[in-house]
């Protein structure tokens, strides 16, 4: 995979070879697994949070996949495919679809998101979701990177989900459905390869909490990598 991506980059560079210098706005593709981890909660989840893109400086095609697989039980995930366009120095507007899976059930949304770097270096993403049954969802992710050393990095993370209506088959209900606060400490052996340990607290609210009660703090062990 890594080779294909590098080759793709080299190929598009060739197009500009006869130019007065290298580079320019080259096509690039990349994949990041921000989290690939084992969570020591009661469900014994395997959790992933990944994204990737192919594109140029201003226009990109993004995918996001976040989900979990309990030790006993079916996987649930949120998967998005979006066109992303830079609209401000630090901000991209993204539009596309989300395909959520909860066991044998699924749900498709239209997505409109804002993604970028907020002042004070908060990596931020807010996505509005619209479904044809009139439900509206909001998913906010925020992350900060605090360098303990040049390679030892602490990442606090904040996630909030909210919905306008109940979606019983998917397991989420109206109002604020879930809040997750975590912090992970990784060591970058290389920029692209960093194992980590972390702690996290997750709580469900409202109807979501009646569907599946959750109020738990737990430890995580995982790997962050990209190429």
């Amino acid at each position: 995979m890594k080779n294909i991506l590098t080759k793709l980059t080299l190929l598009t560079t060739l197009a500009t070879l006869s130019f007065a210098g290298g580079g320019g706005d080259t096509l690039r593709a990349t994949f990041t697994a921000d989290n690939l981890e084992y969570q020591t909660n009661s469900e014994k989840n395997l959790y992933w949070d990944t994204y990737g893109y192919i594109g140029y400086d201003l226009n990109k095609l993004y995918f996001y996949s976040e989900g979990e697989k309990p030790n006993s039980g079916d996987a649930s995930s949120e998967n998005q495919l979006l066109y992303s366009r830079a609209v401000a120095p630090f901000w991209d507007v993204q539009a596309g679809i989300s395909y959520d899976i909860a066991g044998s059930n699924n749900k498709t949304w239209g997505v409109l998101a804002l993604s970028g770097l907020a002042p004070y270096f908060f990596e931020t993403r807010a996505a509005l979701l619209f479904s044809d049954d009139g439900n509206i969802g909001l998913r906010i992710d925020m992350e900060y990177e605090a360098l303990i050393t040049q390679r030892l990095i602490l990442t606090p993370k904040f996630t909030l989900d909210a919905y306008a209506k109940d979606a019983p088959t998917m397991g989420y209900g109206s109002g604020i459905s879930n809040l997750t606060l975590g912090a992970r400490l990784r060591y970058e052996f290389r920029r692209q390869f960093a194992p980590y340990v972390g702690i996290e607290w997750a709580k469900n609210f409202g109807t979501t909490n009646t569907y599946s009660p959750l109020n738990e703090a737990y430890a995580t062990f995982g790997l962050r990598f990209w190429f």
């Binding site: 590098t6 080299l10 210098g21 120095p89």
Partner: protein, 571 residues
């Protein structure tokens, strides 16, 4: 002083420590085809007809074999010695399997001979030979390099020394080229991709939580927070000194890494001229020879009024000639530390090649200041420099018309210098108040008088712009591929002002025409081909538009080059 011992191994961050001299010039590689050459020792070629080839060449710079693109299989390429007034013919054969080129940096010549693909010619196709021919109308220290893709970083560069028609005004007994460069085993396209994905990839000098707590301890929470506030709000780093660092680069002096060390010899009592050339792809160097005062006698190939310094910064593509008078039987380190202070190029000046000087300690990296962000706030802090500044602040005696150029402030620009200042006597980040006499642009005075030079007819302002978060670079917010050519009119005298709206130094290079830098002394404007524009600053120079054709105009940092670029058309 150490005798024939490498004292470097504990500095593991300095690459190129393991390569021995034996490894430098010959190793066997199983995958040798006849199109791959083995590295040869750099030679000097002189005369009027030159045969050069660009070859895929097996080298070992870092302790690992890798492929360079080398001229005549030499890394660095052969030093060309020309004579002022001669007509030179250069047959350049491209043995690579991609288009290549050679550009004669700083040489005033017909534009068809300038060697920039897409502007002055088509480049040299694989297997083809292009013949350059032109008459040499200048003398001094220059260099050549590829202007195709990223070939410069992988080895297509070398020195040019032009002997003057009339005797040089300065006395010296020995004459050495000291060419600085940066080499990586990583493919340039891979480096560029990493910068696009993660601009901080090579920066291991980022701010830590600890740094903040030290500041809190130092000046209290509120003050420390305030000091960070501006940077945090703007989402900018004051530790962003160099995009690509010693993390991947090995710094070379005349093709030698710090372990094998370039060695210049002198005999007792001799004066030595050192011709410093920064042929690096991405690295600014701060040069000193501990124990010696350097008399700077030329800048970018042109003689200047001599100035004695302990240290000078050399931007990518600049050249400085210095004369030193080493003491009998001593050894000196020629020490060129990178601006990011994570590595250095190293040479040795001694009477005996086996006597090696002690390697100096690198300075700690300094952070950028509000001044480098183009904020006026720090002007108060810089009061000590203010008096000198006033004297060197260039100003026009009478106003000239300003030609407005298209400008765009959008996703490609993260910063605007709100109050950019002329900072000619500012040695720049990392060199401020270090206790040494550091060369600044305010010290440069041309040897020739510029009293009679024409007053400028008009002015243009170029904003050097970028978005470090997305690793985008541009001029006036417009990248090269979207920009109309700049129009210069044949016969006019132009004043150009840079405003640097980024946090980085940009060594700006105008092809084909001289840039007369305003240093504050109208009578001795210094003639350069490459001008460093400091972060958040303003700087002006004048150009006599005396050569027709199409010229390249760009930042000389390899990974800024394509976008921070303009085609200039002179008609």
């Amino acid at each position: 002083m150490k005798h024939n011992k490498h004292s470097l191994s504990r500095r593991t961050f300095v690459k190129g420590v393991v390569a021995s001299g034996a490894m430098l010039y010959g190793i066997n590689l199983n995958a040798s085809t006849d199109t791959v050459k083995k590295r040869k020792k750099t030679e000097e070629l002189s005369g009027t007809v030159f045969n050069l080839s660009i070859d895929k060449t097996l080298v070992n710079v870092t302790g690992k074999p890798s492929y360079a693109t080398a001229v005549n299989a030499m890394l660095q390429g052969p030093t060309l010695r020309w004579r002022e007034g001669d007509t030179i013919t250069l047959h350049v054969t491209n043995n690579l399997n991609e288009s290549a080129s050679i550009h004669w940096h700083g040489i005033i010549l017909p534009y068809q001979m300038d060697g920039v693909p897409g502007i002055s010619y088509d480049g040299i196709a694989p297997g083809e030979t292009f013949t350059y021919t032109f008459t040499v109308r200048q003398s001094g220290t220059f260099w050549y390099h590829s202007h195709s893709a990223f070939q410069e970083q992988t080895g297509v560069y070398g020195a040019i020394v032009i002997e003057p028609k009339e005797k040089d005004p300065y006395e010296y007994d020995k004459d050495y080229v000291v060419l600085l460069s940066d080499y990586s085993d990583e493919k340039p396209a891979a480096i560029y991709r990493k910068l696009k994905l993660f601009p901080d990839y090579y920066n291991f000098n980022r701010r830590t939580v600890g740094d903040f707590f030290w500041e809190v301890k130092d000046k209290g929470f509120v003050e420390a927070f305030k000091a960070r506030q501006m940077w945090n709000k703007m989402r900018m780093s004051d530790r962003d000194l160099s995009d690509v660092t010693a993390y991947t680069y090995t710094f070379l002096m005349n093709g030698q890494n710090p372990a094998t060390r370039f060695r210049a010899l002198f005999q007792n009592g001799e004066k030595v001229r050192l011709r410093f050339i920064n042929a690096a792809a991405m690295t600014f160097f701060d040069v000193r020879i501990p124990g010696l005062t350097m008399k700077v006698v030329a800048a970018d190939g042109n003689n200047i009024q001599p100035v004695d310094v302990d240290e000078f910064r050399i931007g990518v593509a600049e050249t400085y000639d210095v004369i030193v008078e080493p003491e009998n039987d001593k050894a000196y380190a020629i020490f060129a530390q990178s601006i990011a202070r994570k590595g250095y190029a190293l040479g040795n000046l001694s009477t005996d090649a086996n006597i090696l000087a002690e390697v100096p300690q690198m300075d700690p990296p300094q952070a950028l200041t509000m001044l480098d962000m183009g904020m006026s706030k720090d002007m108060a802090q810089m009061k000590s420099m203010d008096m000198a500044k006033k004297q060197s602040m260039p100003s026009l005696q009478k106003p000239i018309p300003l030609t407005k150029l298209p400008i765009r402030w959008d996703v490609g620009t993260t910063m605007r210098a709100m109050n950019p200042q002329y900072r000619l006597d500012d040695p720049g980040v990392g060199l401020r108040n270090n206790g040494r006499k550091v060369l600044t642009y305010a010290d440069l005075r041309s040897l020739r008088s510029t009293k009679e030079d024409r007053y400028p007819d008009r002015e243009i302002v170029l904003h050097l712009t970028g978005n470090m978060e997305r690793y985008m670079w541009s001029i006036n917010g417009i990248p090269y591929h979207e920009a109309a050519p700049l129009e210069f009119h044949y016969g006019e005298r132009l004043r150009i002002t840079y405003i640097n709206d980024t946090m980085m130094n940009h060594p700006m290079h105008l092809h084909g025409l001289w840039s007369d830098l305003e240093t504050g002394d109208e009578n001795h404007l210094v003639r350069k081909h490459t001008i460093i524009s400091q972060p958040g600053s303003k700087i002006s120079f004048r150009v006599t538009v005396d050569a027709k054709g199409a010229w390249a105009y760009h930042c000389h940092l390899l990974y800024h080059m394509t976008d921070m670029f303009r085609k200039v058309v002179v008609d």
